[in-house]
């Protein structure tokens, strides 16, 4: 076998190879879906439970791409008018409203999604179903924090000077925390002054304000912080891994928000995208995901609350209604101003 190749032939094949590299995605894998997921816990749980279920159901394959909600919106905005980079988006309430406003996600057709009807009505979004609720509270290290905290005010205790961790407003966790202390200080989504005032008094206790949620989780693991805000699921997952961490709800009501899934506008494979979202809201997948260490709060009425979800978050759907919700449309209007104010107030 010889490797002699004319210059022309070489150029031709090189061009062809380059062409392949730049070919639009999906040109070859006719039955491959690209779906966005969140990083960390979500990427893991969807890879281990949702992906195999979807593959079995459709015979197609799926690439799950971990991205922040805001990153998904940025990518969809950049691709507007062209092929979207993924067909299924996964968003928190605030970003979901933005995506709807910007026309980035399509209306959800319940007829194409048999499991949609079994969702609790408040989880049946016109633009896509809520696949879970995220609930937040206080996580603490039981080795260093001897009295279990009961309210946000405990974070202000003098003995936790330099030991408290929160996240920036880039994470819905940090944003919901600020919204809730603002609410308790008498503010509203239209008036955040009480919240910011209260936050300023927390500064001496802050060990870290993480730039994002991922960095925040690592702080508990390394003993960098002893107490701080945290998502229920994430705290329980860390605990299952052996990290000394306990999660408690605050006695003023648990702030929570919906996490939703959507079919992207102009999706390349809408059929597969619907099958994927429908798999995520199926009772089988949701009851699997409710098990430890994941503890994902189910949204299907066919999945009764069990395990840690029942123990710590909700025994009946009515318990979920008692949680604290925010007006995300108003939040979106003011987020830019709050981010600047937050930057200013927490600056060293």
């Amino acid at each position: 076998m010889t490797f002699e190749m004319s210059r022309r032939a070489f150029l031709a094949s090189a061009t062809a190879a380059a062409g392949l590299a730049f070919a639009p995605r999906g040109a070859f894998a006719a039955d491959e879906l690209v779906a966005a997921t969140f990083g960390g816990t979500w990427a893991n749980v969807q890879k281990q439970i949702l992906a195999p279920y979807f593959v079995k159901r459709t015979g197609a394959s799926v690439v799950q791409s971990p991205m922040l909600a805001t990153e998904q919106i940025a990518k969809l905005t950049a691709a507007k008018g062209n092929q979207p980079p993924f067909d299924v988006a996964m968003l928190d309430e605030g970003p979901a409203l933005e995506a709807i406003d910007a026309g980035l996600i399509a209306k959800y057709d319940p007829a194409k999604s048999p499991n949609f009807a079994a969702l609790n009505p408040k989880f049946q979004g016109a633009y896509g179903p809520a696949i879970t609720m995220q609930a937040i509270g206080i996580a603490y290290n039981p080795k260093t924090v001897k009295t279990p905290p009961t309210s946000w005010d405990d974070l202000w205790k003098p003995e936790y000077k330099g030991r408290v961790g929160i996240t920036s407003l880039a994470s819905t966790l940090g944003l919901a925390f600020l919204l809730d202390i603002n609410r308790l200080a008498g503010g509203t989504e239209a008036n955040m002054e009480p919240g910011f005032k209260k936050l300023k008094t927390l500064l001496p206790n802050l060990a870290a304000v993480s730039a994002n949620f991922g960095a925040h989780g690592a702080l508990f693991q390394q003993g960098e912080i002893d107490i701080g805000v945290q998502n229920f699921n994430f705290a329980e997952e860390l605990k299952a891994k052996g990290v000394p961490i306990e999660f408690v709800r605050v006695d003023t009501g648990t702030p929570a928000w919906k996490t939703t899934m959507h079919i992207v506008a102009g999706a390349l494979k809408p059929e597969l995208a619907y099958a994927y979202v429908d798999s995520q809201i199926s009772p089988d997948v949701q009851s699997e995901m409710q098990k430890s260490p994941w503890n994902v709060i189910p949204t299907s009425s066919k999945v009764p609350y069990a395990g840690l979800v029942a123990e710590k978050i909700a025994k009946t759907p009515a318990d979920l209604d008692k949680m604290v919700f925010f007006d995300w449309a108003k939040v979106n209007q003011n987020r830019a101003a709050w981010t600047q104010q937050f930057n200013r107030d927490i600056r060293v």
Binding site: T77, A208, N343
Partner: protein, 285 residues
């Protein structure tokens, strides 16, 4: 000297593929960035103006962030130079085999991903990290030092992460210095220090400036290191651009911040280049 090396027209053609690549994937997006920065509305409606620039410049916080970013880069670069110069000098003095080992060690940090290196530093600098455990064990301090989420930490990590960019140009320059010059200086009665300050240091200035430019530009734009080691309470320009572009989807403002940041860094680089030109002119005539 210049005449003999003047490139012929055909030589220029060799640079065409790269030029085309740059035009398509660097100049064009950069032009787009500048164009977007003139959009006055977040929704990019096509109304053009200087509104985004005015918004940036009229807020003292933004200017403080710009100043801090340029300063943190300067501090890290200075640290790189202080630690890197002796290392580079050593590299030129040892045998070829040792030189290979040393250069390998210098380059090693580039081989691993910056994210991995930065996370390793979180472990090292943390409250229960190696540094603090050592300090506590030696009784140097009763409390663990706050190295993580502090500017000191950011400077230390930037200096380590970007060190190769300083050391490699320095090695190249130091190697090119004729050893006879140092011998002559010694023979004429100058001591080791005087020889260093009067002969070696001035002759290595081109390397110092090249290394400084590379290190400085890398340090001020090091998004991962700055945000992971610094946390949110230390805000630097790359994070601010990310906040505006990604969290808030305000692309015009993010573009304007990027342009202002780029121009500021370019001004500093231009000053360094001008400095090297004037020194080179004086040294080499």
């Amino acid at each position: 000297m210049a005449g003999a090396l003047d490139p012929k027209p055909r030589d220029w053609a060799l640079a065409l593929p790269l030029a085309a690549f740059f035009a398509l994937f660097f100049i064009a997006p950069l032009g787009l960035l500048v164009a977007i920065s003139f959009e006055t509305e977040r929704q990019m409606t096509g109304t053009l103006g200087l509104g985004q620039y005015a918004a940036f410049l009229s807020d003292g916080l933004n200017l403080a962030v710009l100043r801090d970013t340029l300063l943190v880069g300067a501090k890290a670069t200075l640290l790189c130079l202080l630690f890197g110069y002796p290392l580079a000098w050593l590299c030129t003095k040892v045998s070829a085999r040792w030189q290979a080992v040393l250069i390998f060690l210098v380059v090693l940090p580039i081989v691993t991903s910056v994210v991995v290196r930065t996370f390793a530093w979180i472990v090292i600098l943390g409250r229960h990290g190696i540094v603090n455990e050592t300090i506590l064990a030696l009784g140097l301090s009763a409390q663990p030092l706050k190295l993580l989420f502090s500017e000191t930490g950011v400077v230390i990590v930037l200096a380590q992460v970007q060190m190769p960019l300083m050391v490699l140009p320095l090695i190249t320059t130091l190697q090119r210095i004729d050893p006879n010059l140092e011998s002559a200086s010694r023979a004429l009665g100058a001591g080791a220090w005087r020889t260093f300050f009067k002969v070696t240091l001035p002759l290595s200035l081109p390397g110092i400036i090249a290394g400084t430019i590379l290190t400085y530009t890398a340090c001020v734009t090091a998004f991962v290191t700055q945000s992971l080691i610094g946390g949110s309470r230390l805000l630097f320009m790359p994070m601010m651009i990310f906040q505006q572009a990604m969290d808030l989807q305000n692309w015009p403002f993010a573009a304007a911040v990027s342009v202002i940041f780029m121009v500021s860094v370019l001004l500093i680089v231009a000053m360094l280049v001008a400095l090297s030109r004037s020194r080179a002119a004086r040294l080499y005539g």
